[in-house]
Symmetry: C2
DNA sequence: CTTTTTGTGATACGACCGTATCATCAACGG
DNA sequence: CCGTTGATGATACGGTCGTATCACAAAAAG
């Protein structure tokens, strides 16, 4: 056999080539040949590491999820340790708002997958597509903690507020990607709502 | 010439066939042949009335816009005449929330086009893709009217609040289409926020 | 009644798609 | 040293895509 090679690394290299294409030209431009070229390998290799296109799409989606949660964690950490309920909520939501190149790439790619899953629900069943669900529960939990600490109006329904915040952030993200406003304007709207919730700026 | 035919009607018939496909199987399933079959005409006819695929996509997008604004107007009217600032805002936002078959179809189709435009921005420049912008200004205007009538906190920044409401509604719609919650739950979250804005239920 | 014009069918072309096949080459086990 | 196996290249197949071409029928124009 030729020099034994790290399969996981190669798979990631190819999968991330697909994500790169999806973020710039959309998933419909991500043919096997195009992915091979972008990754700098031959078509045969893409087939070798991902036997079928669906496998490639699902594998790349898993990498996208990793990148997304890594960014969320990094953003939370950047707001200081130990994290407060406020910084957890704030950091999570600002992490998934397209305000810089990386977040723009991530949200664009996520949008491409979202539409694909809408048209082909079979893709979602294979995968724990409950990522937004996890985020929402995460937010609701920390909102409740903030309520117990007296930082948020205790009359608020935490799950409803968390769902609203996440939906607001996603909607703002869509408007940024659509070119309706820039990332800073969206961030201003989001912080305005967050500050109202937490009773004024920190 | 064979019996003179109504071109506008035929174009609409074909364009709406594309919208039907896009809403169920996505735009990537909307090939010229598939659209022809769905519309019950030959491939040649699709080519005859829309010389190229881009023309077809743009034409159908125009029909989608018509259907969308027709639904918004109908929803506003259904809340009683003459419309109040509150019913204008409420009717607009609930119209674009996927709570029934028609709104689900419209929002799904809109999402498909949104992703296409993200990948192919050239499509948007041809068309006044500023539909969300129009909605936002519409909402901001009526929020300001409501402030002058004392129905909404005058300390609120109307454009920011309007952008937030529209983003919230879009984000909630995405979660409904994604199967994260049903239309009624989304509607409850939206009305909760609206009622807080307008100072309690009507 | 011819001659144009408008609408429609049948079919073809070249490109690209996902997938499969065949051959090869390098390392390891015996 | 040799046969087995892991990794890779080259190439092909059937299908679908958007688009173009050719033919033709039917109504209108002269």
């Amino acid at each position: 056999m030729p020099k034994r090679v790290d399969h996981d690394l190669r798979r990631r290299q190819i999968g991330e080539a697909l994500l790169r294409i999806a973020s710039t030209r959309g998933l419909q431009a991500a043919s096997m040949r195009e992915v091979a070229t972008e990754a700098g390998v031959s078509l045969r290799l893409v087939q070798y590491y991902f036997h079928t296109k669906q496998e490639l799409l699902l594998g790349a989606l898993a990498y996208l999820g990793e990148q997304l949660s890594a960014r969320v964690e990094a953003h939370i950490r950047a707001l200081g340790m130990p994290p407060t309920p406020r910084s957890l909520v704030y950091g999570t939501l600002t992490a998934i708002l397209p305000t810089d190149d990386e977040s723009r790439r991530l949200t664009r790619t996520y949008a491409a997958y979202y539409t694909l899953v809408l048209a082909e629900p079979a893709l979602a069943t294979e995968h724990g597509a409950t990522y937004p669900d996890l985020l929402e529960r995460f937010l609701a939990g920390h909102l409740r903690t903030a309520q117990q600490a007296g930082q948020v109006d205790p009359g608020l329904d935490a799950p409803t507020a968390a769902a609203g915040l996440l939906a607001l952030t996603n909607g703002l993200g869509s408007s940024v990607l659509g070119g309706q406003r820039d990332g800073d304007a969206a961030l201003a709207i989001l912080t305005y709502h967050l500050d109202r919730l937490f009773g004024g700026p920190a």
